[in-house]
């Protein structure tokens, strides 16, 4: 029986010397640093970092009057000119609108008469003649804005359904892919593999193929986003189940409860706050991605954006961009508040 507590014995032959710690850096550190620098240098040329530096320098020197103009400055000012003024109104030729009743125009709308000049070659004189005709145009002052907002709502709906799909798909995948709840190793591997695969395919690429399968429109968009979101949620949900405190699970297991019951009572309450956080993040991300995914024809505001951009109607593009920005900003605020309230 040990009774006395003497000084801590030091192992024989070991000398506490600073040399035993070793040098903080060795020649290998230097070699590795040089290799990394060389690789970055080669890579910088490939992604035109040099071009970025020279053009930015040119733009800055133009700004301070050292140079006449710069490529970047010209590009930016052209964009600014094209985007403004933004187009809020919708103008339609009255002749194109079927049975328009002048007395019962849509809300806020009015009819404008514009002079329409046309140059036409007179076949007899072979001269260009100017003909001026009066044209009546139906103007809906906020028509285009309304249409854009409608498209934005459709985009949010795509994001919402994508999130619902992602949650519905990832809950069973998480259960099967959580090492401590999966029925078998094979199912675990299968589930984790599926989740990785879903996460590996970018939404834009899968949307491209889904458009081929389901046709243009929101269906391809919400499927693409939902599958990708399931890839994320399936992984995060499963990892949270694995990391949950084991003690309450043991307690309920010892009472003879099945896995599903233990999961419901001992795991779900623990992981709920982070599940809500992940899901809100995916919803957030889906709204942003849903605006982009229309570029490949998968519905939403992106499809409208692409159409207007291709027709050089930059005023309309500007309206779309403003609506997207405002929406994302507002949704950010809402989801921050929702998160704070739900995770209490």
């Amino acid at each position: 029986m040990e009774t006395s507590i003497g000084p801590i014995p030091r192992p024989r032959g070991a000398k506490a010397d600073i040399g035993a710690l070793g040098a903080p850096y060795t020649w290998r550190t230097l070699v590795v640093l040089i290799a990394i620098a060389a690789l970055l240098f080669v890579s910088a040329r490939r992604v035109e970092v040099d071009k970025f530096l020279s053009l930015t320098g040119e733009a800055i020197s133009a700004q301070f009057g050292f140079k006449e103009s710069s490529q970047v400055g010209r590009g930016l000012s052209r964009v600014a000119q094209d985007l403004f003024p933004i187009t809020l109104a919708y103008r339609t030729d009255v002749s194109r609108v079927a049975d328009l009743d002048d007395a019962r125009l849509p809300w806020l709308a009015y009819i404008e008469t514009v002079q329409h000049r046309e140059y036409r070659m007179n076949p007899t004189t072979s001269q260009l003649e100017e003909t001026v005709s009066e044209k009546r145009v139906l103007v809906e002052p906020l028509g285009y804005l309304t249409l854009t907002i409608g498209k934005m709502i459709e985009t949010i709906e795509i994001a919402l359904w994508a999130t619902i799909l992602a949650v519905l798909l990832s809950l069973p995948l998480a259960y099967l892919g959580a090492a401590n709840y999966t029925p078998s190793k094979a199912i675990y591997a299968l589930s984790r593999g599926t989740v990785s695969l879903l996460r590996a395919i970018p939404e834009l690429i899968s949307a491209l193929f889904l458009v081929l399968a389901f046709g243009f429109g929101p269906v391809a968009g919400f499927l693409a986003l939902g599958l990708h979101g399931a890839g994320f949620l399936g992984k995060f949900y499963a990892e949270d189940i694995e990391a949950a405190d084991k003690k309450p699970q043991d307690a309920l297991r010892a009472l003879g409860a099945s896995k599903v019951r233990v999961l419901r009572l001992a795991v779900l309450p623990q992981v709920m706050p982070s599940y809500i956080a992940y899901t809100l993040y995916i919803l957030d991300r889906n709204v942003r991605m849903a605006t982009v995914i229309g570029l490949v024809g998968a519905g939403g505001i992106g499809q409208e954006l692409k159409g207007r951009y291709d027709l050089f109607e930059y005023g309309n593009v500007a309206t779309i961009l403003v609506v997207i920005f405002v929406t994302v900003f507002v949704l950010d605020q809402i989801s921050a508040r929702l998160r704070a309230r739900l995770i209490a």
Partner: protein, 267 residues
């Protein structure tokens, strides 16, 4: 009070509530947590297991509720051998009070007490946490019995003190009127005064219902004052089994010799 436990007790007097036969548990690293442990516990007994850390007390309890599987030997519960096949049935009649309480942090007191009925309620009731009236009534009665106020029902675990949490743990253990309660160091993380209160509660509540209790403890003085019977273990073996008055100081000193508790006892 006539509980189902007592009724069952009257019918089957011929066999003990619990018995362990040559129980051995060897971990993969070669450590023998239990070494040929044999004893039986009659109905309604409050049996305290003493011993230093690592003596095998927890492992012994876990062989009954299925959290540990013995390497050899058998555990017989109410005349029925505990095996994979019978485990579920046994688990429903055995409740455990844990050292770290093992309650669900983010559920409230009522939900935690009701979670004790997890294996008896229907799947839908568990999924929705919507238990029948009888269970809810019982949970309320138990919460009052363990000395908590009705206002505590809706409090989450994080808002309660350790002693209050263990009271919830005890209420959870009693909700299905188990035949046996395993208490694995139920007061190890509580201060001495609270420990005594909580142990008194467990003892009295079990006595009222005729519940058999197998309780591991490392506080010797408390073990001796509450127990109907003391079993002392050291290195996986039983070194004393008998009435608490029968154990001598010399025997106690021998049990705890060289352990951390030994130093604490000496101090």
């Amino acid at each position: 009070m006539t509980s189902s436990a007592q009724l069952r007790g009257v019918e089957g007097q011929h066999h003990p509530m619990l018995s362990f036969h040559g129980l051995t548990k060897q971990y993969p690293d070669g450590v023998k947590a239990l070494d040929e442990v044999t004893f039986s516990v009659p109905r309604g007994e409050f049996c305290v297991i003493l011993g230093p850390s690592g003596a095998g007390k927890s492992t012994l309890l876990k062989t009954l509720n299925g959290l540990a599987e013995p390497s050899s030997g058998k555990v017989v519960f109410d005349g029925e051998e505990v095996s994979r096949r019978t485990l579920r049935r046994v688990q429903k009649r055995v409740a455990t009070v844990h050292q770290q309480f093992n309650l669900v942090e983010r559920l409230n007191v009522a939900q935690n007490v009701l979670s004790g009925a997890i294996a008896d309620a229907t799947l839908l009731q568990v999924m929705l946490q919507w238990y029948p009236h009888s269970f809810r009534q019982k949970a309320c009665d138990l919460v009052a019995r363990v000395g908590l106020e009705p206002v505590h029902l809706a409090r989450r675990m994080g808002e309660l003190s350790g002693g209050q949490q263990q009271r919830v743990g005890i209420a959870r253990a009693f909700i299905l009127d188990p035949d046996v309660i395993l208490a694995d160091e139920p007061v190890a993380s509580l201060d001495p005064a609270t420990s005594r209160d909580v142990l008194t509660l467990l003892h009295d509540a079990a006595r009222e219902r005729g519940t058999t209790v197998l309780c591991s403890l490392h506080q010797v003085d408390m073990g001796l004052s509450f127990a109907d019977r003391v079993i002392a273990m050291r290195r996986g073996r039983i070194v004393f089994d008998g009435h608490p008055d029968a154990i001598t100081d010399a025997e106690l000193a021998q049990i705890y010799e060289g352990s951390d508790e030994d130093r604490r006892l000496a101090a």
